[in-house]
Amino acid sequence: MNVLNFVNAFFSDSAHWHGYDGIPARLGEHVQYTLQALLLAAAIGLPIGLVTGHYGRGGNALSLVATAGRALPSFGLLVLMTTLLGFGMLPVMIPLVVLAVPPILVTTYEAMRSVDPSPVDAARGMGMHESRILFQVELPVALPLILSGLRSAAIQIVSTATIAAYVSLGGLGRYIVDGLYQRNYEKVVGGATLVAVLALVTLALFWAVARVAVSPGVRRR
């Protein structure tokens, strides 16, 4: 009766590989929630972080919002939103986005602030437009840090998206919630293992993206 036995039992049970409660289906749902929440959070956090970081203004306001965002408990928010809005996708997305925006926003702002000012000065002096300076001078250099912000946001979403199961939605959280309810610890451990694996895959994905997207001149290798 140890954890490995649970894991083994869970994954070798062929019933867990088919149907609407099968691993592929639940994994797909989980990935879908994660992507949706990450895209939404990036759509909010990236532009604000890039622009405030470029102009160097609003840093204090940002960190205030970010701290507030971090202080909100995701589960509490989920319950609150479900009470207000009823069951559905939206009450799940809101806590996930609130969770993911602060790391994206703050890291993007910091990344832009930490860009060496002299190339920016040179670019401005040669008559480059501000938008071009932002995208072609600052962003490529800030990219590794920005990606690390996105990465930690993604990891947090992956692990927190399990809460969707509490409000009758799918995802890997289903195994954990149902397993706990049915006292089926094999299911609980299996679900948790899948979440952990998904988090590792996310890490690997970000590593690959950074390899491709970051210039060797910035990576210094």
Binding site: P119, G125, M126
Partner: protein, 373 residues
């Protein structure tokens, strides 16, 4: 620049009613202690800083009249740490402005390659990234990038301050050569008065508070500083330094004994004069140069060997005097451009040449006054 003042929002007056006429196709240097407003002045020319009062005219036209990007694209801009784009290769860094102006990729890269050669960069560096280059090389890339779209004006803010003295000297010589070839209008900021004197056709000495202390050609600056501030700023031995501006071409050479570096003690005791053009003499001069760093060539014994030579017509009186002072006998050895000994010249003769050069300088000034009066 007509009575230009810059007051920053915090109340600092960085530049105070500065009027300056910057000549075409020459190097004008702004020099002064740190914080005296040099950078502010330079940045007002490409409108990185907007003046609080006064106007700046470029070819007679107010620079406020054209769009700021058009103005900046007509001026190359070089800054202290080069400010290269880390994520771009060297060729792409240099091709930035041409690309911005809409040139095709091939044409821009070809132009970049041409400029790399012009500023003395090995073509093999083209595909490298800035972090793979030394400080001096990065600075060359900065200059090449500023020249890429062939702007008539070049603004340079302490471009060589962050590199070591040997590399700096190379970069300065290179800039003078490029200026000879291209004839740009260069405004060059430095806090190093020696650099200002070496590079400037005109030198504007600025004083803390953004005041212009003196605006003059370097030789005049050395001979007649406007006040004690300029005099102090020029530092000691400005009399000696001024000799750099006097040619040595009119020095009268005499033939005399020149002792080869490989001379034996007997030869030194009874020196045989080397006639001008002697091959051994040529060897001597060569050896003397080679011998400088490690003292090789002294192995023959306690030879009274002059260590440096002067090329009359090419070198200045300062070099001639330096050779004479360094020589144990007090005689400077003159050589032609091939390093062949052409004669010797005494400290006394050099002293006379200096006196007559000074006298000629004073006559010129008196003539100027007559014209002015």
């Amino acid at each position: 620049m007509e009575s230009v003042t810059k007051r920053y929002p915090d109340g600092t007056v960085a530049v105070d009613r500065l009027s300056l006429e910057i000549p075409d196709r020459s190097i004008t240097v702004l020099v002064g202690p740190s914080g005296c407003g040099k950078t502010t002045t330079l940045r007002m020319i490409n409108r990185m800083v907007e003046p609080s009062e006064g106007t700046i005219l470029l070819d007679g036209e107010d620079i406020q009249r054209q769009p700021v990007t058009t103005l900046r694209r007509s001026m190359g801009y070089v800054i202290q740490n080069a400010g290269l784009f880390q994520h771009r290769t060297i060729v792409d860094n240099i091709a930035t402005v041409p690309r911005m102006l809409g040139w095709g990729k091939q044409k821009a890269r070809a132009r970049a390659a041409e400029l790399m050669e012009r500023v003395g960069l090995d073509a093999a560096l083209a595909k490298r990234y800035p972090y793979q280059l030394s400080g001096g090389q990065q600075q060359r890339v900065g200059v090449a990038r500023a020249l890429a779209a062939d702007p008539p004006v070049l603004l340079m803010d302490e471009p060589f301050s962050a590199v070591d003295p040997v590399v700096r000297k190379g970069l300065q010589d290179e800039l003078l050569r490029i200026q000879d070839e291209l004839g740009k209008t260069i405004v060059f900021v430095t806090h190093d008065i020696d650099e200002a004197i070496k590079l400037g056709t005109m030198v504007a000495v600025m004083r803390t508070g953004g005041h212009l202390a003196q605006y003059a050609p370097p030789a005049e600056l050395l001979s007649s500083p406007a006040d004690t501030f300029v005099e102090d700023f020029l530092g000691g031995d400005r009399g000696i330094r001024r000799l750099s501006f006097f040619p040595s071409g009119r020095l009268e050479l005499t033939t005399g004994p020149v002792i080869p570096l490989d001379a034996t003690a007997e030869q030194i005791a009874a020196p045989t004069p080397l006639p001008p053009g002697d091959r051994r003499g040529r060897q001597t001069a060569r050896l003397e140069r080679a011998a400088r760093p490690d003292g090789r060539g002294h192995q023959a014994g306690p030879a009274p060997v002059p260590r440096a030579t002067v090329r009359p017509g090419t070198d200045s009186l300062r070099v001639a005097l330096d050779c004479a002072v360094l020589s144990p006998t007090g005689w400077a050895v003159a050589v032609d451009t091939d390093g062949r000994v052409t004669g010797v010249v005494s400290q006394q003769t050099i002293g006379e040449a200096i006196r007559s050069a000074h006298a000629a300088g004073r006559d010129d000034e008196r003539d100027d006054e007559k014209v002015a009066g």
